[in-house]
């Protein structure tokens, strides 16, 4: 079985600073992390590989070259090939331009299934899985909480999706794009001390647009259908604390507030 897993290194949003004077997000000093939902997808793929050792797992990331140390660790955690698609000309790509780059690369690969996260921390639009599937002509399912079955010979995957009011089960024809939801209990395997300095350069493939050959008009800002005009950052506001007594009225107020905010259902 061959699984391709899309993995996006994203800035650690906790460390992003917003420069109000220039109206831009300061990303320079923000540490990169693996997008948590993508990491769940990769962890799921590695679990499959542990259970079925002849599974071949390749991760594919479109990212700046600075992401390389994070990606090299993936090889040390058991990924067979780590592909980094990196080209300065891709800077400013929106989800559409990104999907096109990824699709172009995926067209050159052989696979039974494409894993990815449903959303990214930094964008959050959730558009890439669907656009990619569209470009590749594949079925897509997102919001997956569990993979019940993955059987390329039968040409089918069975997945569970959290439908808020019910857990839904779907059978998806393979090959397909499967987008996972974050699951803190499904973690990438730990790096071991002995592996830390293992040379994995043979398992890392870095390529740019010279290899993919997209037209200049399809790249970066020019190839994007959308553009960021302005980012609005919510200002922090001080809330007035509400003091309640532990009586029926207090409880009702808390329940009402939780319902209003969508934490519990009426």
């Amino acid at each position: 079985m061959k699984i391709l897993c899309l993995l996006k290194p994203v800035p650690d949003v906790d460390q992003l600073r917003y420069d109000r004077a220039r109206n831009v997000l300061v990303r320079e000093q923000a540490r990169l992390i693996l997008n948590p939902e993508d990491a769940t997808a990769a962890a799921t793929a590695l679990e499959i590989k542990r259970a079925v050792p002849d599974t071949y797992l390749e991760t594919v990331s479109m990212a700046p070259r600075g992401a390389r140390p994070h990606l090299e660790d993936l090889a040390r955690r058991g990924v067979d090939q780590v592909t980094l698609i990196s080209d300065l000309r891709y800077a400013g790509s929106d989800t559409w331009a990104t999907s096109r780059v990824l699709a172009r690369y995926l067209e050159t690969r052989d696979y039974d299934c494409v894993f990815c996260g449903t959303h990214t921390l930094d964008g959050g639009t959730g558009q890439v899985p669907a656009q990619l599937a569209e470009l590749l002509g594949l079925p897509v399912m997102v919001g997956i909480t569990a993979l019940a079955e993955l059987d390329p010979r039968a040409g089918q995957a069975v997945v569970e999706v959290d439908g808020e009011r019910a857990l839904l089960r779907f059978a998806v024809a393979l090959p397909a794009v499967l987008g996972f939801q974050y699951n803190p209990d499904r973690k990438l395997p730990y790096l071991r001390y002995a592996d830390l300095n293992r040379d994995v350069s043979q398992q890392v493939v870095v390529l740019g647009n010279n290899a993919l050959g997209l037209a200049e008009t399809e790249l970066g800002l020019r190839g994007s259908l959308t553009q960021v005009r302005r980012i609005e950052v919510d200002a922090l506001e001080t809330k007035t604390p509400l003091r309640l007594r532990a009586d029926q009225e207090g409880l009702d107020t808390v329940c009402h507030w939780l319902e209003q905010k969508g934490f519990v259902q009426p």
Partner: protein, 490 residues
């Protein structure tokens, strides 16, 4: 000798109620907060001790130590269990942890002579509570005050947050009682000062349980005027600008109880609600009104003199509110422990060093550069910064603070992350002539540099160990490097 024999020997000295062999407690006693993450994940690589014992009198301590000395049993003295450098970690199969839990009496609060005598197992908080009711304080206020006990506080040469006014524990101890491995009990009397030969208090203060067991301590007392406290805070351009102000305040003779500079990164984790991406400089002036007002004026003059480095003042209410929540209770410690069981993260690590005024800014920059350039897991760092929090006439300390996303197995965490960073900090500090440990003690994990720390003066330290603990039964591996323990130091 096997563990059962150790237990038989102990049972000849103490009743069963003073001997603890519960498996969970022994596991907990195998290591301190240095290996907090591995401990929480149940992957400790060090053996549990044979037993934890709770002597109730100095005499029982003396009999226990003499017995261990005769039979070559390792002794780990223990008080509040807040050690951070491996001082409580066990590297021997046959070890007795001698816990001061039941040496818990406040013996005397002598208001006229301004001194208080307590047993080693009294928490500093308990003593302070008694004293504060009488308008007094020891002036000692480490962040671990609610949990740390007098025996440990003296044994580690601890320092409190008000040190710039009151000094470290070494400035507070008047006299003490301690027990040596051969069972000898030494009482160092309480006098205001004396010139009776070298100051022998300093053999016990800071010995980290490697020379003697401290059973009783007498400390100085001060009048307490918390209502007069004044807080001052400033956003500043960089660490070096803050250090200049600290120096100015100190050399002009002012003694604010708190005088601190935070790097931008460290400020972010403490003062995210007001730091605005800058470094933070803060002070607290304490004492009677006249002193407080004079200290405040001195601080303001120093800030004015170096105003090029100033960004803007901070509302003093914010500093006061932050300060009120700084101490760690046992619950905070337990919460961090619980968190580590479930998450691949902890509250971070620190390495605290000191050097003279000239050296400190250079040291800070050198360490930052080296960590960023050489630390192989720099991309996992979530925080790297520091602060200066204890100043003296000739210099100050630096508290390097760092945290990281833990991507390795729990048992590998220290050698993958903390050790390489700590090594850089220690090497750079020693290269520039500073001290590699400002207040946590050497513990086990800086013992490989004890010789370098002391240079030719190591001779004195070595002779003390040979004289007082010739059989090497006191806290094996702490302060004094042991080749046998090298595998843990990687």
């Amino acid at each position: 000798m096997d563990k059962n024999t150790v237990l038989e020997l102990v049972a000849r000295i103490l009743p069963a109620s003073q001997i603890n062999t519960t498996a969970d407690d022994l596991y907990d006693a195998a290591a301190d907060r240095y290996k907090k993450y591995a401990k929480a994940r149940k992957v400790l690589d060090v053996p549990p001790p044979a037993a934890i014992v709770y002597p109730r009198t100095t005499e029982e301590v003396a009999r226990l130590l003499a017995m261990c000395n005769t039979h070559g049993i390792n002794v780990i003295p223990r008080s509040g269990k807040t050690a951070t450098e491996g001082g409580l970690e066990n590297w021997k199969e046959n070890t007795l942890v001698v816990d001061a839990r039941d040496l818990n009496r406040i013996i005397k609060i002598d208001e006229y002579n301004m001194q208080a005598t307590v047993e080693a197992g009294v928490t500093l908080q308990a003593l302070e509570n008694e004293l504060n009711q009488r308008g007094l304080t020891t002036g000692h206020s480490p962040q671990s005050k609610p949990v740390a006990k007098l025996g440990g506080l003296v044994a580690t040469r601890s320092i409190g947050q008000f040190s710039t006014l009151y000094g470290g524990i070494e400035d507070m101890v008047v006299g003490l009682e301690c027990v040596f491995p051969d069972g000898h009990v030494a009482r160092i009397k309480n006098v205001p000062r004396r010139a009776g030969g070298p100051d022998i208090r300093h053999i016990a203060i800071g010995n980290e349980g490697t020379l003697c067991y401290i059973t009783e301590v007498t400390v100085k007392l001060y009048r307490h005027f918390p209502a007069n406290n004044v807080f001052l805070g400033y956003l500043i351009k960089d660490v070096a600008s803050g250090i200049k102000v600290l120096r100015e305040v100190m050399v002009n003779g002012y003694r604010p109880s708190v005088a601190r500079v935070y790097s931008e990164e460290d400020a972010r984790q403490h003062f995210s609600h007001f730091y605005k991406g800058h470094c933070v400089l803060l002070f607290m002036a304490e004492g009677n009104q006249g002193i407080v007002q004079a200290t405040r004026a001195g601080i303001e003059a120093a800030v004015e003199r170096f105003k090029d480095g100033l960004v803007e003042p901070v509302d003093s209410g914010l500093i006061a509110a932050w300060f009120a929540r700084l101490n760690w209770s046992q619950k905070d410690i337990d919460d961090e422990f619980q968190g580590m069981i479930h998450n691949d993260s902890h509250a971070g690590f620190t390495t605290e060093v000191s050097a003279d005024w000239e050296t400190i800014p250079v040291l800070y920059e050198n360490v930052m550069k080296r960590v960023r350039a050489e630390f192989p897991r720099a991309h996992d760092l979530t925080m790297l910064g520091g602060h200066s929090s204890h100043s003296y006439i000739n210099g100050t300390n630096l508290y390097f603070v760092y945290n990281y996303a833990i991507n390795c197995a729990p048992e590998d965490e220290l050698r993958v992350y903390h050790h390489p960073i700590q090594r850089i900090i220690v090497e750079e500090t020693l290269k520039l002539g500073g001290s590699m440990c400002h207040h946590h003690g050497i513990g086990k994990y800086r013992s490989e540099w004890t010789r370098d720390e002391h240079g030719s003066a190591y001779y004195l330290l070595e002779k003390l160990k040979q004289a007082f603990d010739p059989n090497g039964i006191m806290n094996f591996g702490t302060i004094f490097y042991q080749a046998e323990g090298a595998r843990f130091l990687q």
